[in-house]
Each structure stands twice: as C-alpha cells, then as structure tokens.
C-alpha cells in the first residue's frame, strides 16, 4: 500500500467523522442516524480484504469513539470485526452480485450495530438494552444500505488498484 493510498484513507476517515458529527445528527430519519464511518469501513474492507480492512475499521472506529460518550474502543472493535467479516466474505466471492454495495452496507450496518450493542451491554451501558434498540438497528441498517451506494465508488477511488486480489475483482477486471 503506497503512502498516497494511506493518505487518501486517512482523509476518508477524517471526512466521514466530520460528516457524522456535523451533518448526520441533523439528518435523522425517525430519530435514527446512519453510521457513515461504518459504511466507509465496509466499502474499504470490500476493496482491501480482511486484514487491512480490520485495521482501517479499528482506526476509524477509534476516531468516532472519541466523539461518543460510550467507552472508547467499542466502535473500534465492532468496526474491525465487521470489516474482517466483509473482507473474508468478499475474498470468497467468485462473481459480484448486483446491488452488492447496498446489500453489504445493510448487512454490515446491522452486524456492526448488533456487535456494538452487545459489547456496550457487556461494558455496563444499560441504555442500549431496550426494545427501541431493535428499531434503531434495523432503521440504521436501511439508512446504511442507501449510503453504501455512493460510498463504494469513493472507497474504490481511495484504494485504487491496491485492493485485495479476489476472484470477483479479477473477474470484473477481465470483463
């Protein structure tokens, strides 16, 4: 991975964190905000694979944790696990299904939210244990799926040709 790619990924973390902390608190749908930083993590992990994706997810999660009142490390761990899973899943894909961005954005958003809630509950954050949490997770996942559509091309631009050589990417390149 070149320094330019690293610089672009750092800029992506900063941009998504700034948008998450300034724009998206005002763009809530039914009181629920999407997780743009997690969506960016999913998009990057899809391009770079599990290992680098997990590191990116950890770093971006750690930065957004600094702006939350929940314990530092909760988002970092949940984003890293989701990125790792997306990377593993993608390396096994032989062809790219249609609407892959929205599907992974939604599924990854739901998984990331669930992991966050479980970890938060284990860390003593009782406010996450409520019926409303189910509603929040589902709605945020739908929102994440929509945001993933424009985010995937951004991640492709940031990563360039450095990404993981998966069967799906090889297939897309050959066609």
């Amino acid at each position: 991975m070149t320094w330019l790619v690293r610089l672009k990924l750092a800029a992506l973390v900063l941009t998504t964190v700034v948008l998450q902390t300034t724009l998206f608190p005002d763009l809530r749908l039914f009181g629920v905000a999407p997780d743009l930083v997690l969506v960016a993590t999913i998009a990057v992990a899809y391009r770079v694979g599990p290992e680098t994706g997990a590191v990116y997810g950890f770093a971006s999660g750690l930065v957004i944790d600094l702006f939350l009142q929940t314990p530092l490390g909760l988002s970092a761990l949940s984003f890293a696990v989701v990125a790792y899973g997306i990377g593993i899943l993608h390396t096994g894909l032989s062809r790219t299904p249609r609407f892959i961005a929205a599907m992974l954005g939604g599924a990854g958003g739901l998984a990331g939210g669930l992991i966050f809630v479980v970890l938060a509950a284990l860390a003593g954050e009782d406010q996450v244990i409520a019926f409303r949490t189910i509603w929040v997770l589902v709605l945020a996942a739908v929102y994440d799926a929509l945001l993933a559509v424009p985010m995937f091309p951004v991640a492709r631009w940031a990563v360039g040709s450095t990404g993981a050589e998966t069967p799906a990417i090889r297939g897309a390149r050959s066609t």
Partner: protein, 290 residues
Amino acid sequence: MVVYRRGNRRSVLILLFVTSITLITLDVRGSGPITGARGVAHDVVAPIATVADKVFSPVGDWVGGVTRAGTLKDENSRLRKELDELRGKAAQNRAFESENEELSKLLDLPYTEDSDAIAARVVSGSPGNFEWTVQIDRGTSDGVAEGMAVVTGAGLVGRIVEASGDRATALLLRDPKSGVAVVTESARTTGVAQGRTGESTLRLDFVDPTANVDEGELVFTSGRDNSRFPPSIPVARVEKVAKKRGELQQDIVLAPLVDLDSLEFVKVLRSPTTPAAPTEPATGEEAPTP
C-alpha cells in the same frame, strides 16, 4: 497482489481485539489520558467542524423543516397561546422574584440568578443513536467545566459531561445516564428525574409513596445534598401519575419544559454551589445503578 495467510490474519484480529478490550476497560475505569484524548480530538476537529457546520446547517434545517412540517404548524399556534399566558404571568412573577431573592439572601441560600452564566450556541447533536447529547461552541477557555448545569429560558437542559478548549458536550435530561435531584411544586416532595431510553419523557423515581403529586404541576431542581444544580431551576411538568394499590413506588412521568429536540442557544451556569472542576460525581445527581 495480496496473499493471505490464515495465521497472519488471525494475529491481526487478535491484536485489535486485545487493544480494544484494554481501551474499553481503561475508559470504563475512568482513565485520565483517555479523557484527555477526547478533548484533544474535539479541539483538532473543531475548526473543520465549524466550517462544515456552516455549510451543512441549512441542509439540516431544511430536512428538519420538511420532516416536522405538520407538527410545527400545531406547535406554532400552541406556543402563541402559551406566550400570551406567560406574558401575564411574567409580570406577576416580577414581584415574587424580588421577594424571593430577598428571602433567599436572609436564609443564606444560593439563588439561581446569582449564577454566572456563559451563553453558548448548540453546534451539533449526538453522532450516535444510543446517547442524547449536544455539543456547544464554548469550552474550558470560556470557563466551562464538567458538571456545570445547562439551561435555557424555559428550564434545565442537562449538564456538561465533557469539556475541551473550545467545545463542550452536554448530557441532556432525557439520556438514561442523566439523573437530577428535584422537588415537586406543591407537596415539596423530593425525587430523581431520570431519563428513559428512547423516550422524550422522564421518570420520577425515589418519591415518597404517600406523597401527593398532581398532574400538571412543575418540578424544580432541589439543590440539596451537594447538588451540582442550583436550586429552583424548572425541570419538567408532571404528565402522568399512576399509583397502584400495594405498590411501594408511584409511577410518575415527567415532560421536560425545554424542547430538547430543537435547541439553538443555551446558558451554562457557573453556580455558586458548583466547584470549578469537580473530580467526583456529586451525590444524588448520577443515575442510580439498578
């Protein structure tokens, strides 16, 4: 081309897992450097966030206006009625206010109006879905410190939970971690106004089961037991009281007096009873552990 080795993959994930668990543990235990890191992060991002906020606030306002158009019309007419009533009451209250101030001085009680207030603008809400906070454009350089009460003209908003150089985060009344020692208007019964997950209303806990609490009456900060909040700040209105026979607790629901969804400007109170930089949570102000 990246070649994956299963052992290498696992070691990265294990390393990230161990680091995360260590950070979570340190933060839960209240490690100083982590609090400092949060302050630094806020200060670093603050200039960019200020620019971004100026660019994006019209977008947010527009979306807010569209999604709340129906309720805004009803709210507007309701507020006009309330304004007329309140104008009349305000004139009446002036006389009581000066009398109250004189009596409070005689009794040597701290008075809300004695508080030195710092005006601040709300710059953003919470970026997450599991906490109810707002960020204000004043920080430690303006005299804001953790634990200070945040109010508007209508009443209590919450308290400062984090302050960096130029920014501070206020925990709103409706957050489940928020608990405020209050006293009821008529019976002068004390209790704790507690936030509820996902609800815009509060719950009044630890109230004497025999106390008479009526729907519609107001609750104020009690200012007792080293409370961080000055006394007599209006907090909420009693919305519902349900008392079942044989139960030890009354089920009391409160509606905050301040519209916590549309905060623009607030005041941070440097109360005469509040230490400048508290290190320990004050008794009766933290949410009780279930």
